[in-house]
């Protein structure tokens, strides 16, 4: 082998060993909460196991997102919680690359536990799209250039939700899907990623709703699946056409998870709903009644369903049968959704304590409990072999 071929082979080998660094939206790929990364961290603390730590300018309950070597995160601050921050860090080193601010143009009312940085941004190779609870929506390039900005409350002045919004936008090809269920003018919209203009906008029931849309492919259509207090609906992502609607679910806070054409929805515990081309087919095929999500969303991982409620009761069931495997209590209150990878399930409580459960076991096996302290309400991210946790004051990259 000559030197050139050796170099190429080594480079390819090195690339192959680097996990894909992509956790681009709320709960990662299609909001599953599952990473395919290996060698994920097991034990860490304030002084150990950290790749890096970075200070944050303010609080936020949104999740960090990662695309390539960029990590993006949002915060909000000010006496009126009206300063809206978007930051970009080098995901490998923690170096702050840029920080941009907006002034809230909509109401800053919210439950005291939440804040204006509750929706998780979504990223792609070109940058990040940040939606704040105030209806302020911005697209930044990877270098912090403001590509476009919209004041959705300026555009649709009756938007209102005094509990605070939290549904997160998602990307479908060249469209940013913006969920805006609220007590005023409610809509689901597709916005073009280049200029931020509406491609389509469909009217929605006036409900407050924190659910993030999911997607699936049906034939040549990418379908947006959106759960809400008014029921479940499927939309054509290209046109906004409502393809079907169902009253089988009535989501409002946790987001369902989808596996192929099976939707695991937080209804009656967690129920498996078979989706045909025209929506749900018949009654749920499985009900895991003991898997009771609270605010955190349920997780499907390695054939098991997991949930944690606000009081820290973790439940786990067989995803095929719904049979309860265990129901145990972890310490503290929980807002963050569980995430998983590398045979581990991460349950992060509200005070920085993260319990790592063995996903290969059918029993409650806590592999480690790791404490960072601080207020931790946002769901962690997994990318590049690292676990990213945000607190009210800092951002932690955990792992090698």
């Amino acid at each position: 082998m000559n030197r050139y071929l050796l170099t190429v082979a080594l480079a390819v080998g090195a690339l192959a060993s680097v996990p894909a660094a992509e956790w681009a939206q709320f709960k990662g790929p299609n909001a599953t909460g599952v990473s395919t990364d290996k060698d994920l961290p097991l034990e860490w603390g304030k002084e150990k196991g950290l790749k890096w730590k970075a200070e944050l300018p303010a609080r936020g309950v949104s999740s960090p997102v990662v695309f390539g070597d960029k990590l993006y995160i949002t915060c909000s601050s000010g006496n009126r919680d009206d300063r809206l921050h978007t930051l970009c860090f080098d995901a490998n080193t923690g170096k702050k690359l840029w920080h941009r601010q907006l002034q809230a143009t909509g109401s800053t009312a919210a439950h005291p536990k939440s804040c204006m940085a509750a929706s998780t941004p979504v990223a792609d190779e070109t940058g990040v799209y940040a939606l704040f609870n105030t209806g302020d929506l911005a697209a930044y390039d990877t270098d912090g250039t403001l590509r476009w900005y919209r004041s959705l409350v300026g555009d649709y002045p009756t938007i209102t939700n005094q509990v605070g919004m939290a549904a997160s936008p998602i990307l479908v090809k060249d469209k940013l899907i913006v969920p805006m269920d609220n007590a005023g003018e409610s809509f689901l919209a597709a916005v073009d990623v280049k200029y931020g203009k509406n491609v389509w906008k469909v009217e929605r029931p006036r409900d407050i709703n924190w659910v993030t849309p999911l997607t699936r492919t049906v034939g040549n259509v990418t379908e947006i699946i959106f759960d809400a207090p008014s029921g479940l609906a499927g939309y054509d992502s290209s046109t906004g056409e409502k393809r079907w609607a169902s009253k089988l679910t009535r989501g409002s806070i946790p987001t369902a998870t989808i596996d192929g054409n099976t939707l695991y929805a937080p209804v009656g515990g967690v129920s498996a709903i078979k989706l045909g081309d025209k929506g749900p087919e018949g009654e749920p095929t499985m009900k895991a009644k003991d898997v009771q999500p609270g605010m955190p969303s349920p997780l499907l991982y390695m054939g098991k369903l997991y949930a944690v409620n606000g009081q820290g009761v973790v439940s786990c069931a067989d995803a095929k049968t719904g049979k309860t495997l265990y129901k145990e209590r972890l310490k503290g209150a929980f807002s963050a959704s569980p995430v998983a990878g590398d045979g581990k399930v991460y349950f992060l409580n509200e005070t920085g304590s993260c319990s790592v459960l063995d996903a290969t076991a059918d029993t409650f096996e806590v592999l480690a409990t790791n404490d960072l302290g601080g207020e931790t309400l946002g769901t962690p991210a997994i990318a590049g072999g690292k676990l990213y946790i945000r607190s009210d004051k800092a951002l932690y990259a955990i792992g090698k």
Binding site: Q103, A109, Y149, R150, T160, A183, Y195, G196
Partner: protein, 397 residues
Amino acid sequence: MTRWTRAALVAGALALVPLVPARGDEDVTRALATLKGVKKQGQGNEDAGPAWKALVSKGGAALMPTLEAFDEANPTANNWLRSAVDAIVQKEADAGRKPAADKLEAFVRDTKFAPSARFAAFELLLTQDATAKDRLLPGFLNDKSADLRRAAIARELDVIEKLARPTVRADLEKLFGFARDKDQVDLLAKKVTDNGGKVSVSEHFGFVTHAMLVGPFDSTGGKGFAVAYPPESAKEPTGAFKGKNDAEVKWIAASTSDKYAQFDLNKLLGKHKDAAAYALAVIVADKETPVEVRVTSITAVRIVLNGKELYAREEYHHGSPFDASVGKGTLKKGENVLVLKVCQNNQQEAWAQNWFFQMRVCDDTGGPLPLKQKTADGKLVPLGFIANPTEPKEEKK
């Protein structure tokens, strides 16, 4: 081209320099005009993106013009500018340069500029001159910028308490007059009281404490919110009306002794569901006065001043943040009829049974105005006036 010709052209070009604006200035002006031209629903974004880049590329030279371009009447454009300020400052920092502190200070002091821009400049100034805080904040106690005012009040309170002068009570009372944020108002009211003084929180906020009420009207399925029942356009609180379930309803006089002037409609009109009610207050102004009508309510509200709708929000039982509903209007000289519509829905949960309102009339900083309200017996009393301030409810708050 000969060397001589080139030299002549260069000399000619240089001679023209004083006669035309510098190219950099032109670019900045053009970029700012483009950013300020953005409209709703993303109109103008195609041009705004390149303009933002062009503006930021000018670095420090673009900072002050960008801050000067802020206009609170165009919040969409302001956010293009706000993010540009961050990018310009970062670009300068990367090049090892800092914004000129003297220019920032002059800008912060100049109240003709937008409050949000002045506060951004103040924060930039503090990053390189921490002493600016003590130098500038004393002048911002009555500032249009809510953030500068808040910072100034916090600093002044600290000074008053540290110095503990014999005039502490008067100093605190004066500071109370400048406060706008509810937490600072409450804190200062308590400190004034603790020092033997007395201030009226309700008068400071300019609450309506005397009103005429009528209801319930039908709002089954929330439809009553859009129905303009006769009291919505009332010029005076007289007459009887067909209310919910065809029952006759008449105006009743109501007043509140609550420090925050809450009118509890469950107590005053009854525990109705799917209902609408009206409150009418007569506000008297010595002269034409621009005002904000600020309402706190846990249910849907519509604000009407002299027959003109100022504001509407249709939301039920999602919390009741202070001042969440704000209508802007102008009082005419003399009597003005201020009507508030409050709707209740049909939610059955125990936490969804309240309906109430607080309403105040204030300036655009949330501060008091020299306005009067008319009581049921025709007397004129200041806004916020509470006849019997010793009622226990005031203390409970």
